[in-house]
């Protein structure tokens, strides 16, 4: 692959109007902006229909809130029930600037920490708004009956979470994502019951339909009958999650995919920063080739666990047999102030370094120890069990080892993707009327997401941002009907989806979609994983293209298109991962700096930390689709930092 290295233009592309209000008063920007946006009269809201795709935290909260306001909402999920969405697996917690612990937290501090944690590659205005509404999320969730952890006085408990020096994380045992999703799902159920939301389970969005530059609906495929259907609306909200499964092995659920976002990209939505991926430091290492996914151990474990490897290379002794003096608590040694609580990217890269050096632990030497012996001696096993019991049980079940008596083994794995569809301050993509919320968009986490911020962002977008901003778009459409599904634009999109299905079924190759997914994942992990370099990224582009060619000629999809067929579902998703992987390699190649989760070997400090190049890369890279077979065009949105001082991150 050859990439043209254009120098940064230092001005934002005219195609990327961020709509960030022109004011230096960031503390009041969102409040003032809400006043300046157009409103839709309560009696007119029912005249507008909105499609929400995806029912995780962002999608469920948005669908419920839009219906409460009076909009006609159609919600779609490919699961059998909205509550199965992968938000449910988030363990650790949700941040909010409540300052209930009286330890100096504030909206400004959460804003500051999030911009800094993202290595100065996020949009200040969006992040400030996120910090502001964080407090409302906790109120909303508590009122819904989310059983957050409480103190003996009955008030909410908090903990400090990876990378934060204040206790601002709210949690519900180790199942915070589950409980917050059940809260949003309950709000959705209330609207389904009252008729505010028309719920479509087991339907997968396979195309975005755009007419005369405006969004007019989606095409779906019924996963039980194969029926291809059109659905029209005034606006479409994509809440379809991230693209972490491009690595094949990740902590994402089996069905997580980039398809809805990718199809929107092909219809004109720019895709931003696809090279940004978070590699989570605390996952259970792979055990063999048949591994289908990796399991995350909540990083809240780093509050009490100490990370170490043997000082000796290739040390095969059991942890208990390695004396204190022969252990290297490398995070505590290198980062005395933050110790085991350094941000995720720093913790991950350091684990890779020691494993690459040959100091890894476990049968495959592919992990580092996370040791609770000191915490158990200090607090007692009962206290540790109360905090982390379910995580310890999960670990013991998967590995067959007891973490109360021997240290856990952990290793980084792909967990979250900070890139996604480019959106403006209103969360609207470059296709008018199409919005992206939650992990599906790119905006709030920059190049690295802080712990306990994903749940916050999903719910902020769904409950408190999109329901306001979408009105500004819809207000101008009063009196306009939707484009009827009988319009030729829908017929054409339906035909394309049906043709795709038939095409996959007729390849008659020799290898399963799963095989190609696994092979693709190996390339992406090796070349666009925790450390990237020019040579490897150029090779990645070629390798992915070669494998894709073989995939298209040689994939074997068993079964038919008129009944449940998980192979057929999978092949379309794998096909879109190929497209995303190519763009990811290119984005990583042209971002010739390190920042957050994007680590270019050529750009590091003497300490081995990510070295940014703010002069040339303080921008969002947003890629425009130019048709099949043509390279995407890169557009830049310059990032301005008026309220946070740029600095080299240092966690010493």
């Amino acid at each position: 692959m050859t990439a043209t290295m254009e120098p940064s233009s230092k001005v934002s592309s005219p195609r990327l109007d961020s709509k960030v209000p022109q004011t230096d008063d960031i503390a009041n920007m969102w409040e003032n902006h809400k006043f300046s946006m157009k409103l839709v009269n309560p009696n007119n809201k029912r005249k507008f229909s909105v499609i929400v795709v995806g029912t995780g935290l962002a999608g469920s909260s948005a669908a419920a809130t839009l219906a409460e306001l009076g909009y006609k909402v159609k919600a779609f999920t490919f699961h059998d029930s909205p509550r199965r969405a992968h938000s449910i697996a988030a363990q650790g917690g949700i941040n909010a600037a409540k300052n209930y612990q009286n330890d100096g937290d504030s909206v400004h501090r959460l804003f500051y920490d999030t911009v800094k944690g993202g290595d100065y590659r996020s949009r200040e205005a969006n992040v400030h708004r996120l910090a502001e509404v964080s407090v409302n999320i906790i109120d909303q969730a508590a009122a819904q009956g989310v059983p957050f952890a409480r103190d003996y006085g009955g008030l909410l408990d908090n903990r400090s979470f990876g990378g934060a020096q204040v206790s601002r994380t709210f949690y519900a045992r180790g199942q915070t994502g589950q409980q917050l999703l059940l809260g949003a799902y309950s709000a959705l159920n209330r609207q389904i019951e009252s008729g505010g939301v028309e719920m479509h389970n087991r339907k997968e969005m396979l195309d975005l339909v755009v007419k005369d530059g405006q969004t007019c609906g989606i095409v779906t495929r019924d996963l039980l009958t194969g029926e291809v259907e059109s659905h029209s609306a005034h606006a479409v909200v994509l809440a379809t999650g991230g693209y972490g499964n491009v690595y094949y092995l990740s902590t994402n659920a089996m069905m997580c995919n980039v398809t809805a976002a990718w199809r929107a990209h092909r219809k004109g939505a720019f895709f931003a920063n696809p090279c940004y991926t978070q590699i989570h430091p605390t996952c259970i290492p792979a055990s063999d080739d048949h591994q289908s996914k990796l399991t995350l151990m909540s990083e809240s474990l780093r509050n009490d666990g100490r990370i170490w490897v043997p000082k000796e290379f290739d040390d095969s002794r059991l942890a208990a047999d390695i004396p204190e003096a022969e252990r290297d608590y490398y995070l505590e040694r290198k980062y005395p102030a933050f110790g085991n609580l350094v941000p995720r990217d720093v913790a991950s890269r350091n684990a890779k370094t020691v494993v690459d050096e040959g100091r890894g632990v476990g049968p495959l030497k592919n992990g580092v120890f996370l040791d609770f012996a000191d915490a158990i001696a200090r607090d007692g096993a009962e206290t540790i069990k109360a905090k982390y019991g379910n995580l310890f049980d999960m670990y013991a079940n998967i590995t067959g080892e007891d973490p109360y008596s021997r240290p856990m083994r952990i290793y980084p794995a792909t967990h979250y993707t900070m890139g996604g569809l480019w959106v403006d301050y209103h969360l609207q993509t470059t296709v008018p009327g199409t919005y992206a919320i939650g992990e599906a968009n790119f905006s709030d986490h920059g190049a690295n997401r802080l712990g306990a911020s994903a749940l916050m962002q999903g719910l902020a977008d769904g409950y408190f941002v999109l329901p306001y901003t979408i009105g500004d778009y819809l207000a101008d459409k009063l009196g306009d009907g939707v484009v009827p599904t009988s319009d030729p634009v829908f017929a054409a999109a339906e035909a394309e989806v049906a043709d795709q299905t038939n095409m996959w079924l007729s390849v008659n190759g020799t290898k399963s979609p799963e095989h190609y997914h696994r092979e693709l994942g190996k390339i992406v992990w090796d070349r666009i994983g925790m450390a990237r370099d020019k040579n490897g990224l150029e090779k990645a582009g070629d390798e992915i293209a070669t494998l894709e060619e073989e995939f298209r000629k040689n994939v074997r999809v068993m079964g038919d298109g008129t009944s449940m067929n998980t192979e057929l579902e999978k092949v379309g998703r794998v096909s879109d991962f190929f497209g995303l992987a190519k763009l990811k390699a290119r984005d990583a190649l042209v971002r010739e700096e390190s920042c957050g989760g994007h680590f270019r070997v050529e750009s590091q400090t003497e300490e081995g930390e990510a070295l940014r190049d703010d002069d040339n890369f303080s921008h969002v890279a947003a890629w425009e689709w130019n048709g099949e077979g043509a390279d995407q065009t890169k557009h830049e949105e310059q990032l301005e930092f008026k309220h946070v001082k740029l600095s080299q991150r240092s966690y010493k």
Binding site: E68, G145, L182, A187, G559
Partner: protein, 258 residues
């Protein structure tokens, strides 16, 4: 054969759609790593079937860490297999021995129609939730979260109930195909909290009545608890029954006052 690998024989329920009668088919699963999960074992079997140009076995799973509730399966007649407190995706092959014969069926209940092979529809569980599984609080109207203290024991008990993942194992394990354990978990999660009090009586009545439209009657076998991957306590069924009786009296009284 590596020392960590085993050979097993599978009898798997194959049913090509809701109208098909269905039958068992036998598969030899050779060289299965004991470190793999039960579902990873089925992945391997499926890849081999595809290599032989045969239809892979349809089954559902998603998170594969025991929290989404998508996976199901009756394994040797037990919902989610032999180990207590586990979903199928958490079951590992080290539970089994070389030479074992394993029967794999879908979750069976009149209200869980088979879609294909091992996949069933559990939509009726959502219908119960629609009937009242929420607190009526629209976005933006909530007071400060610390304005309503919740005693720690109440919060903890509500959390025990809220841990339900909605997998339907309780229904599949029950000789009556009753959904009491699921419904009681959902009712009590909210009825135990101060936030759920305003709609407490309406909720329990609506959810139990809806449940009875789809599922059988509870006769206290306790099989549901044995099968539950989250070990939801049978006490919640007692709490629900108490609330339901009270609700029937209270709600009738209110009706009489109209």
């Amino acid at each position: 054969m590596s020392e960590n690998n085993i050979n097993i024989t599978l009898d798997v329920w194959r049913q090509n759609g809701p109208a098909d009668k269905g039958h068992f088919e036998t598969y030899e699963a050779k060289e299965i790593s004991t470190d793999s999960s039960f579902l990873e074992m089925l992945d391997v079997v499926n890849e081999r079937l595809i290599d032989d140009e045969k239809l892979p076995i349809t089954f559902e799973s998603d998170c594969r860490e025991g929290i989404c509730g998508t996976c199901s399966l009756m394994i040797n007649g037990q919902a989610h297999g032999p180990n207590k407190g586990q979903a199928t995706c958490q079951l590992h092959m080290r539970t089994f021995s070389d030479g074992d014969h394993i029967t794999v069926e879908p979750f069976r209940a009149a209200s869980f129609p088979v879609i294909k092979d091992l996949a069933v529809s559990r939509a009726a569980l959502d219908t119960i939730q629609h009937a009242g599984g929420y607190v009526s609080v629209s976005t933006g109207s909530a007071p400060d979260a610390n304005l309503t203290p919740v005693p720690k024991d109440a919060a903890d008990l509500a959390m025990d109930a809220a841990a339900c993942i909605g997998c339907g194992a309780c229904v599949a394990a029950c000789p009556n195909s009753a959904a009491q354990l699921f419904t009681s978990a959902k009712v009590n999660h909210l009825n135990l909290l101060p936030q759920g009090q305003s709609e407490r009586w309406k909720r329990v009545e609506a959810m139990v009545d809806t449940m009875e439209d789809y599922f059988g009657t509870c006769t206290n076998h306790g099989e549901c608890y044995e099968a539950c991957p989250k070990e939801i306590s049978l006490d919640f069924i007692a709490f629900m029954n108490r609330d339901y009786v009270k609700a029937k009296i209270k709600n009738r009284k209110l009706a009489g006052q109209k």
